[in-house]
């Protein structure tokens, strides 16, 4: 029967693994840190959305594409505003991640993550439907000029394909992704709460 002191002796006699020399650049590059990954992912998403707006604006006003209806301009600005707001929201979320302080005591550190995940959970509930609604409103108006004067068969096919894809994307694919994301966030939050309780308990 080993008592705790014997266990402690055993631990202290254990040889630490061979000390590798430190290569700062390598460890920074290879970082698998959740916060860095999450931040980069959100930053990339936000920037991509911003450049989408730049591209749409260029296409509409500086390319050879000539759409003249007033309603088409409204449509493009609805799309641009929606995507731009989404970009700002994504960058704001990235900023929130960047605020997490790794040097705080564990309970406060865990609380920061819990707050972030609670924010994300709420955000995905209202953000996705609104984004979908405004983006499709813009697209719907945009199509008015695009399909004008085209054969009826072409219009029906275009509407059917577009609506079919959007409904599938929102109600099947999107719903599945949303459920998965909510489950993932809930799992993380439960885990964080569990660890917080462990810290509080005697």
């Amino acid at each position: 029967m080993k008592d705790f002191d014997a266990i402690k002796d055993l631990w202290q006699q254990s040889k630490p693994a061979e000390q590798k020399t430190v290569d700062l650049q390598a460890i920074t590059r290879q970082s698998k840190d959740t916060r860095t990954k999450l931040f980069r992912q959100l930053l990339f998403g936000g920037i991509t959305l911003f450049f989408t707006v730049v591209f749409i604006t260029w296409m509409m006003y500086f390319s050879t594409m000539k759409l003249t209806w007033f309603v088409t301009h409204i449509a493009v600005w609805i799309i641009n505003t929606t995507v731009l707001l989404q970009s700002a929201l994504t960058l704001f979320t990235a900023y929130k991640v960047s605020l997490v302080d790794d040097t705080l005591p564990p309970a406060q550190h865990l609380q920061q993550w819990e707050d972030y995940y609670a924010f994300r959970k709420k955000q995905i509930q209202w953000n996705k439907p609104l984004y979908f609604l405004f983006l499709n409103l813009g697209m719907g108006l945009y199509f008015l000029e695009v399909v004008h004067g085209r054969p009826i068969g072409y219009i029906i096919l275009l509407i059917a394909v577009y609506c079919g894809w959007m409904l599938y994307a929102y109600f099947i694919l999107g719903k599945r992704i949303l459920e998965k994301e909510e489950k993932r966030l809930k799992g993380i939050m439960d885990e964080l709460k569990l660890i917080e309780e462990q810290l509080k308990a005697e």
């Binding site: 631990w11 202290q12 693994a17 920074t28």
Partner: protein
């Protein structure tokens, strides 16, 4: 001293202890190495925030504790037994010791997450005051916890040793 030189000195001084902390937490050498690196990436990124309110040791161990606690566990992540090939290369008496150490890591990994960190710091002979500072737990609460964890770890270790 330049920041990079200071970082290198800190890494040399504290990496062995942090590696053991991570090993105690995960029970897996590869994963422990990842957590060690993540911890030191955070040390590097936050060095300018260090105001000297606590010792470097406390500050670095706290970052490592946070890194371990927020490491997202995959449900199928289990303790990985000692690498047989590596054990085979060690002489018999040392191998027995190595196996005992591996068993100890395995036993620690059976404890609750925060308990693993606390007991690893105790095993490293950190003063209670510093452990309290690292974990943000009051010293009184910490004493109660440590008493309980020591008992629990001894029981787990002995139950495995009997097998």
């Amino acid at each position: 001293m330049r920041q990079e030189e200071q970082f290198t000195a800190l890494y040399k001084q504290y990496a062995p202890g942090i590696r053991k902390l991570c090993l105690g937490y995960t029970g897996d050498a590869m994963l422990a190495e990842d957590l060690l690196q993540e911890s030191f990436v955070k040390v590097w990124k936050n060095m300018e925030k260090f105001r000297g309110d606590a010792a470097w040791s406390t500050w670095i161990y706290r970052i490592a504790a946070n890194t371990c606690l927020t490491h997202l566990r995959k449900k199928n992540e289990q303790f990985v037994d000692a690498d047989e090939e590596r054990l085979a290369m060690i002489p018999d008496d040392e191998r027995n010791k190595e196996q005992e150490v591996q068993l100890l890591y395995k036993c620690i990994s059976k404890l609750a997450e925060t308990d693993r960190l606390i007991i690893t710091l105790v095993l490293e002979d950190k003063p209670y005051e510093e452990i309290a500072e690292i974990t943000g737990i009051t010293e009184n609460n910490l004493r109660v916890k440590i008493h309980r964890i020591k008992k629990q770890l001894s029981e787990i270790y002995n139950s495995y040793e009997r097998l």
